[in-house]
Symmetry: C2
Subunit: 564 residues, 2 copies
C-alpha cells in the first residue's frame, strides 16, 4: 500500500471525491485528477438556482463552504491531489497501463502511467436531431458555461419568452428559474405528464401548480423544429403545429453516459449503455474503477441494472471506489432506489422507490394508497402534503412513495427512502417511533398515516378508488352516486362539481334514506382528504351497502377541482 | 364480533383514538368514552404554543382541522362514540365487568357494564413536596386550565418574571413561550444539563442558545422554597441560596403514570411504575387493555421496560388496542426508541435511540462521532447542524443519534429513527440513497456524513476527541498542541482562545517544522467543523506523528468559543 499511481478521469463530482478520499486513505499515493472542463468540482446541481438569481456569487458554485475556490492550487495544497484542468483523456492503454491526454488550453499532449484508474467521465445531455437545434439561443444545461449564458440572459432583461423542452427534474428547475426571472415560460413534454418519477395523477398536481405560476405546459407534444432568423432562435414549432415565439430554448430531455473512452479501451458496457461495474464499482478490468454519471448500478428493489445519474450517488460511489483502491476490494455499493426531490415554485415534489406504473411494469402485484393531509397541526401553520404509497400486495412491503405539496415533503421522502431500503412493510411503519412535536409533524406523522391507510386497504377494510378513475367514470357519463361528507361551508368553498351529494358525516347516520336504496349501487365517498370519507364508508357498509369506495386523497388531491 | 360493549377510560389522546378506531372496525360495537376533564381530545402538545401566542384561537386545541369542536355531540355524530365528560371512573369490578363512575358536574354516579375495557388514564405532573408549592402562581402544565391560566397571565402583561422548574422538553417549550411573551425567564435544573435526552456537550449548545435569548439557566441547582406573600408567589429560593423574584413558576419535572384505578383493581403494575401490558397492549386481565401515558412499553433497543409518555406513541398504541379488541389479539406494539424533537427558540433539538451516556449505562461498548456541518449547500442559505451518532463498537450498529441546530434537524432525526428501528449499521447508512437537491440537503446528506465519520473512527482511521475532553485538558493546565487549520480570516472571526496554533490546511504540508518535533507529542487538530481537521490528521500521521486527534465537530460544536 505505498506510492501507487492513481489517475482519476473527470473532475466534477465523483472524480474529486475519489481522488481526495484515496489520498486521505494513503498519503503516499500519487493521485492525479484530469479534468476536461476549465473548472473543477462544480456544484452543478446548483446551476438552476444561480440562473434563477437565488444567489449572485458565481464562485459559490466552485468554492468550499469557507469560500476557497477549488482550483488546481487548492487540490494540490489542501488535498495533496495533482489536478489538471482543460485536460481531456483521449485513450487508455490497458496493457501498458497508461492514459493519453491533450490539454485544450496549452496544446500539450502526452501519456501518464497508472496503477489504478478511475473513470468519472459523466454524462452528456441528449440533443435530438431536430431541425434548427444549432441555432443561437438553443441550449442545454450541463456545463458551467451553460449556466453562465443563461444567467447572463436573465440579467440582460432582454429575454421575454423561453421554452423548456422536457418536463423532467432539470427542466422543471430551469422552468422555475426563468419564470422567477420574469420570462414567460412554456414547457414541452412528449409524455402525458411532467416528472416521470411521479404517477400521473400526482404529477397533475404539480402541473396545475406550475400552470398557476403563468407557465404553459404542453404535454403529449414535442418539438418539430427550432425556428430562427439569421442563425438566431425566434420560436419553437411543436408537433401539433403550434408555434411558440421565444428567444431561448433549453433542451433538457435526459442524459447519455459518456462511455466512448471506456468502450474504445474494450471495457464492458452494460445493458443500460453505461459502463458496467461490479458491486465494488470495478469495471471489467480489475485495475480500472468507475463512478458517477457514466456507470450502471443496481436497482436495490428490482435487482435489475439501472442508470441513475444523480449527484449524491456519484459521491457515494466514488467513496466506495477510493476505499476499494486503497484498502482492497471490500467496500460494496448496493445501488439505487431512485430517491429524488425537487422544488417546484411553492411546492416540493419527491419520490423514492417505484411508482405504481413502474412497479406494475416490473411485474409486481401492487396496492396503493393516496393520503392528502397536513404536515403539522393546524394551529402551527400546517401545509398540505399529498402522498401515494405503493406496496407489494402479497407482503405489504413498501415499494415506493411519492409526495407533493407545499408542506414538508423533505422529511416524508427521507423516511420513505429509509423504509424502502430496509424492506419495511406498511405494518412496520404503522408502529414506527418517529420524532414528534407540533412545530415538526402531526402526532401521527403523515408517512405513518399513509401506511395506516394502505394497511386498511390490504386488510380489505377500505376500498379505494383513485381520483383519476373517478374522473374517467365522470367523463364517460357513468357517474356513480358521489357522496361528499364535508361541512356545508367547505362545499361552498370548493367542490368537485360533478353532481355530488352533500351529507356531512355527522348527519350521515340519520340520513341513510337520502342514499340509493339499492344496496349494491356504487357509491363513492370523499371529504377534504378522505379521512371522513373512509369513516362514511365504514358507516354505509355497516348499514348494508356493499359497493362503497373512498376517493383517495379527497378533494385536496383532485386536480380538477372547481375553486370558488 | 357483534354488539360488544367497549368502555374507554380517558379522553385525551389514546382514549379517543382507541374508541373511534374500534367503532370504525365494528360499527355494531357499543363504544363509550369516559373523560374526567371537561374537554375531550385536547391537543395538549400544543399548549406551549398557545401560551406563547403562536396562535390565538383556544378552540384550535379542541377542534378538528376543519374547525369542528370535538365535544360529546361530535363524538356521537361523527364517530358513533358515546362520550361523557366530567366523568371520573372510580373503580373497576373485574368479576362483574363493570366500572363505577361519578360525574363532577351533575353529581350523578352509577355503574356501566363492559365486555372490553381500555385504560387511558394518562399521567400527572410530579409536584415535589417543596415549601410554598401551593402558593398562587405556582403551576404545572398538564390540563387545559393550566394553559388557559398561563395564556391569561401572558395576555395580562402583568408578569415580569417567571421561573421554570425543570429543564426537560416541556420546561424548555414553556420557557420559550414565556420569554417570547416578554417575560424575564429563569430555568432551574437539578442535573448538570438541560434536555436529558442529549449528551452533556450537545445540551450545552442548547443552553448557550437559550442564554443568548436572555434566559438565565441554573443547572445543578434546585428549588428549596417557593416564597410568597398573602398566599401569592413572590419568588423562588434556590438550594444555593439565590432568590429569584417572580410572579409565576411553572413546575415541569416529569410525570407519573396514573395507575391507582388499575392498582386497586388488582392489575399488574410494571417495574417502571406504569401499568404492565403485553405486546398486544393487554393488561394482566385479558378483557382490559391500556394505552398512552399510563402504560409501560418495551424499549426496542435494550429490550427493557420503558415509561415513554409521548403523544405520538399514545395514538399508535391506541390503534393497536382497537385492532386487538375487535379483530382478535394479532396486532403488536413493538415499543419505543425514544424519538423526540423540540423547538428551542431559533434551534431545533432532536434525538432518537440511546445517548452515549445512556448506552454506556446500559452496558454497551460504544463509539461516537460528532459532526458539525451544514444542512444544505452554502449558496442555498445553509444552516448549521451539530450531530452526535452513537454506535455499538463491535458491530457498528447505530444505537442513537442527536442533532441540534438552526438547520433542518427534523429530517435528520427522522432518518436516524428509521435507522435505529431497522438496526442499520454506519456502513448501511454510508451508502444510503436519500433524496437530494440543493434546496433540501447536501449532496452527501449530513446524516450520511456523520455515519462516514463514525465509520472512519471504527476503522481506526480517525482518532477523535470530544470538545468536552479538550476543555477538560485545557482547564487542567495540560494543554496539548492544538492546531487550527482554518484560514486566517476565520481565525480572526472566532477562535478557541486556548493558545492554539494557526496553520491553514493548504499550508500544512510545507509547515511541518512548526509542529512539535517529538513525533509522540499529543496534537489536537480542528477547523470550523473538523473536516479539514480530519484531513490535517491524515497528513500528520502520514508524516510520522503518532498521537494526533481531531476535535470532533470543530469550533462550531465548541460551546465555549470566543466570538469577535
Amino acid at each position: 500500500m505505498s506510492e501507487q499511481k492513481i489517475i482519476v478521469v473527470g473532475g466534477s463530482a465523483a472524480g474529486p471525491k475519489a481522488a481526495a478520499r484515496a489520498k486521505r486513505l494513503d498519503e503516499s499515493a500519487d493521485v492525479t485528477l484530469l479534468q476536461k472542463a476549465p473548472e473543477l468540482s462544480m456544484a452543478s446541481c446548483g446551476y438552476p438556482y444561480y440562473i434563477g438569481g437565488n444567489f449572485d456569487e458565481r464562485s459559490a458554485l466552485l468554492a468550499t463552504p469557507t469560500g476557497v475556490v477549488r482550483d488546481e492550487a487548492f487540490f494540490a495544497a489542501a488535498k495533496g491531489v495533482k489536478a489538471r484542468v482543460n485536460t481531456e483523456v483521449t485513450a487508455i492503454d490497458r496493457d501498458n497501463k497508461t492514459v493519453a491526454f491533450t490539454n485544450s488550453a496549452t496544446g500539450e499532449s502526452g501519456t501518464l502511467p497508472y496503477d489504478k484508474l478511475v473513470l468519472c467521465t459523466g454524462a452528456t445531455p441528449r440533443r435530438p436531431p431536430i431541425p434548427g437545434i444549432d441555432l443561437e439561443g438553443v441550449r442545454g444545461l450541463s456545463e458551467m458555461r451553460d449556466a453562465d449564458k443563461l444567467r447572463e440572459l436573465r440579467d440582460s432583461g432582454q429575454v421575454n419568452n423561453a421554452v423548456i423542452v422536457g418536463g423532467g427534474l432539470i427542466g422543471i428547475e430551469v422552468c422555475e428559474a426563468l419564470a422567477d426571472s420574469g420570462m414567460k415560460v412554456d414547457v414541452v413534454e412528449m409524455l402525458p405528464q411532467l416528472l416521470l418519477f411521479l404517477d400521473w395523477e400526482i404529477a397533475k398536481l404539480v402541473e396545475r401548480h406550475v400552470g398557476s405560476k403563468g407557465v404553459t405546459v404542453h404535454t403529449e407534444n414535442g418539438v418539430s423544429e427550432f425556428v430562427g432568423e439569421n442563425g438566431k432562435l425566434t420560436g419553437v414549432k411543436l408537433k401539433d403545429g403550434t408555434i411558440i415565439p421565444c428567444e431561448v430554448a433549453v433542451v433538457s430531455i435526459g442524459v447519455v453516459p459518456n462511455v466512448s473512452l471506456a468502450k474504445e479501451a474494450g471495457l464492458e458496457i452494460g445493458v443500460t449503455g453505461a459502463v458496467a461495474v461490479d458491486e465494488h464499482m470495478r469495471t471489467s478490468d480489475p485495475s480500472i474503477y468507475a463512478a458517477g454519471d457514466c456507470v450502471e448500478i443496481n436497482n436495490r428493489i428490482t435487482g435489475k441494472k439501472a442508470f441513475a445519474p444523480y449527484g449524491d450517488l456519484a459521491n457515494l460511489e466514488a467513496r466506495v471506489v477510493a476505499d476499494n483502491m486503497i484498502l482492497g476490494d471490500k467496500a460494496v455499493f448496493p445501488g439505487t432506489i431512485n430517491s429524488g426531490i425537487c422544488k417546484v415554485f411553492d411546492l416540493s415534489a419527491g419520490s423514492t422507490g417505484l411508482s405504481e406504473k413502474r412497479a406494475i411494469d416490473e411485474g409486481y402485484e401492487v396496492v396503493t394508497a393516496t393520503n392528502a393531509s397536513m404536515d403539522k397541526p393546524g394551529f402551527m401553520g400546517a401545509k398540505l402534503l399529498v402522498s401515494k404509497m405503493v406496496a407489494d400486495a402479497k407482503t405489504g412491503r413498501i415499494l415506493g412513495f411519492q409526495c407533493v405539496g407545499p408542506g414538508e415533503v423533505n422529511r416524508q421522502v427521507a423516511e420513505a427512502a429509509m423504509a424502502v431500503m430496509n424492506g419495511n412493510t406498511v405494518w412496520d411503519i404503522g408502529v414506527a417511533d418517529l420524532p414528534y412535536a407540533p412545530p415538526f409533524s402531526l402526532a401521527i406523522d403523515h408517512f405513518i398515516t399513509t401506511a395506516h391507510i394502505l394497511g386498511n386497504k390490504i386488510d380489505g377494510r377500505m376500498a379505494g378508488i383513485s381520483n383519476a378513475d373517478v374522473k374517467k367514470l365522470v367523463d364517460s357519463g357513468e357517474t356513480p352516486f358521489i357522496l361528499d361528507v364535508r361541512a356545508p361551508a367547505e362545499f361552498e368553498e370548493m367542490r368537485l362539481g360533478v353532481g355530488e351529494k352533500l351529507i356531512p358525516l355527522g348527519k350521515l347516520r340519520n340520513a341513510l334514506d337520502e342514499l340509493p336504496q339499492d344496496k349494491d349501487a356504487e357509491i363513492i365517498t370523499f371529504c377534504k382528504i378522505s379521512m371522513r370519507g373512509y369513516e362514511a364508508q365504514r358507516v354505509l357498509e355497516a348499514n348494508g351497502w356493499t359497493n362503497v369506495k373512498v376517493m383517495e386523497g379527497g378533494i385536496m388531491a383532485w386536480p380538477f377541482a372547481i375553486q370558488r
